[in-house]
């Protein structure tokens, strides 16, 4: 394992401290743990809390800021934070209108957030949550854990954050978050795995000429393995799955070409070049595009494509002001 770290045990804490030190006017770390909150608490609006395992930087700490999250709770790399940590975060930002937690659909995250929300409710805090499950690589059925939450989560932060900033009540913020979840889909791939520092070994092995399709964001293997193909062909494979899942025809969308951590922007732009043409050819109108590292998987090389179907409300909230370290509008 080759990494620029000091010690495996200190990765998360030093990373969070470094993030906060880079944005001292905007962010603050709670002394009780790896919990990032806005430097100044904003009262009178629904507070948004998200989080999950570390290793997805800039998610989620980088999305704390005006128009987005109020708090992000970071667990160990790829492992959900514990209920007491999440509860500390909820308590720190809780307001009279309440708290909405944005949880990615992983058993660990869901169980830990549920326990934390129970703790908050016991203390009289109004709290609710939504579960993001945008990954079309995974089959969604009543009998499984369901689809994973991946890069589409950023758009839930953005849009629910804007709605909360407008002063909407808890149920309205939750409703718009669920609207985003219903309309956002993502699929990813990797050409190189990543190594969890505490583990020291990569999550899977790939030969020089292989790629893994349908990967998540935790270094776990994907749905299947193929011979490495050209960028356009790979992007087409992902887009076909996404477009087959919900109907995008004639609709306006926001696109995210998300890097998994070790993918050069050069390659992401090459992918985007094809994605834009492909969508145009399939009568999907691109309203806006984001290209960059938003939801990473440490040093995994690969990318994901996210499409969000927009309506007038979602467009307004997507365009609203945001001032988080990793997303400015």
């Amino acid at each position: 394992m080759k990494k620029i770290i000091n010690s495996v045990e200190k990765v998360e804490e030093q990373m969070i401290r470094g993030l906060v030190k880079a944005f001292p006017q905007q962010l603050k770390k709670l002394s009780c743990g790896n919990v990032v909150v806005r430097a100044t608490k904003k009262e009178g609006k629904v507070a948004l809390v998200s989080g999950g395992g570390s290793g997805h930087e800039p998610a989620h700490g980088g999305f704390v800021g005006e128009g987005m999250l109020d708090c992000a709770v970071a667990g160990p790399v790829f492992t959900s934070p514990t209920p007491d940590q999440i509860y500390e975060g909820i308590k720190a930002v809780a307001t009279e209108p309440g708290v909405l937690c944005i949880v990615k659909n992983y058993t660990g995250d869901v169980l830990n957030f549920e326990m934390a929300i129970d703790m908050a409710k016991d203390e009289g805090i109004k709290a609710d949550y939504v579960v993001v499950n945008d990954d079309v690589a995974v089959k969604d059925s009543l009998y499984t854990t369901g689809r994973r939450g991946v890069a589409g989560t950023i758009l839930v932060h953005k849009i629910a954050g804007a709605r909360a900033e407008e002063g909407a009540d808890l149920s309205s913020v939750k409703a718009v978050a669920e609207k985003v979840i219903a309309n956002v889909r993502t699929m990813g791939m990797a050409i190189k795995p990543c190594t969890v520092p505490a583990n020291g070994k990569p999550g899977f092995e790939l030969a020089e000429d292989e790629m893994e399709i349908g990967i998540g964001i935790h270094g776990e293997p994907g749905t299947h393995r193929e011979k490495l193909a050209q960028a356009n062909k790979v992007a087409e494979t992902l887009l076909e799955k996404i477009l087959a899942d919900i109907d995008y025809k004639g609709r306006e969308v926001t696109v995210i070409i998300n890097g998994m951590g070790a993918t050069p922007l050069m390659e992401l732009y090459i992918v985007n070049d094809f994605v834009q043409d492909y969508l145009a050819a399939h009568e999907v109108k691109v309203y806006n595009t984001m290209v960059g590292n938003y939801m990473t998987s440490i040093e995994m090389a690969g990318f994901s494509i996210t499409l969000l179907r927009l309506d007038d409300e979602l467009k307004r909230l997507y365009d609203a002001k945001a001032a988080a370290p990793a997303l400015v509008k």
Partner: protein, 210 residues
């Protein structure tokens, strides 16, 4: 009659902590195959904290409060799916053991049943989904039958271990429909479930320590 008091219980948890540390790499390897490779790391972190907490705890002869302390410590240190699941399990076991200075076979069974119900409640899973329940549920059934048949606690726990071993082997033959491994679909076949394996490890330590 063979019983389990809080002193013996604390010793068992110390033994579990050592065992989990010993098997950390193995559990993590199992989780790398069908999960995200953190199960051993998560549990080792948690039981290390449990052992430390128990060593600082003032002498307490209530088995319920030992179990509750273990549960709360796991919830706040393990993370992942197994943290809330094992944490809830020991907290529920603690709740039904509250005020008991020692657990006899019947008391142990009550605690074990409460623990398994806790896992089912929190994780909304049933046996056959390739989770820790595939070790815990058969173990619980075996425990019940053995105790009803008049076996002493140690014998009953060994029978539970045997049942859990079969349960762990069974997880190799089924597709995961809960937890991270469910993302793999058919690809989860042939691999044994990390959580079921850690449950078996713990049970075996209990049997050996009794």
């Amino acid at each position: 009659m063979m019983t389990l008091d809080s002193k013996k219980m604390i010793k068992i948890f110390n033994n579990i902590a050592s065992k989990v540390e010993e098997e950390k790499a193995f559990l993590t390897e199992l989780d790398t195959a069908i999960g995200d490779g953190d199960h051993g790391i998560n549990l080792a972190r948690g039981f290390h904290a449990v052992a430390e907490k128990l060593s600082q705890m003032e002498e307490d002869d209530d088995t319920g409060s030992v179990l509750k302390t273990v549960g709360m410590q796991l919830v706040s240190t393990v993370g992942g799916a197994s943290g809330p699941l094992y944490g809830t399990a020991f907290m529920k076991a603690g709740a039904v053991s509250k005020g008991k200075r020692e657990l006899d076979a019947v008391g142990f069974l009550a605690a074990f049943e409460a623990a398994v119900d806790g896992v089912k409640m929190r994780g909304k899973a049933v046996p056959g989904e390739k989770t820790m329940l595939d070790a815990l549920c058969p173990a619980c059934d075996a425990l019940k039958i053995s105790i009803a048949g008049g076996d002493d606690l140690k014998t009953a726990v060994w029978k539970a271990v045997e049942a859990a071993e079969k349960g762990v082997a069974f997880t190799k033959t089924i597709i995961a429909t809960k937890g991270r491994a469910s993302y793999l679909g058919e690809r989860s076949l042939g691999h044994q479930d990390p959580g079921a394996t850690s449950s078996l490890l713990m049970l075996r330590v209990i049997a050996e320590s009794l």
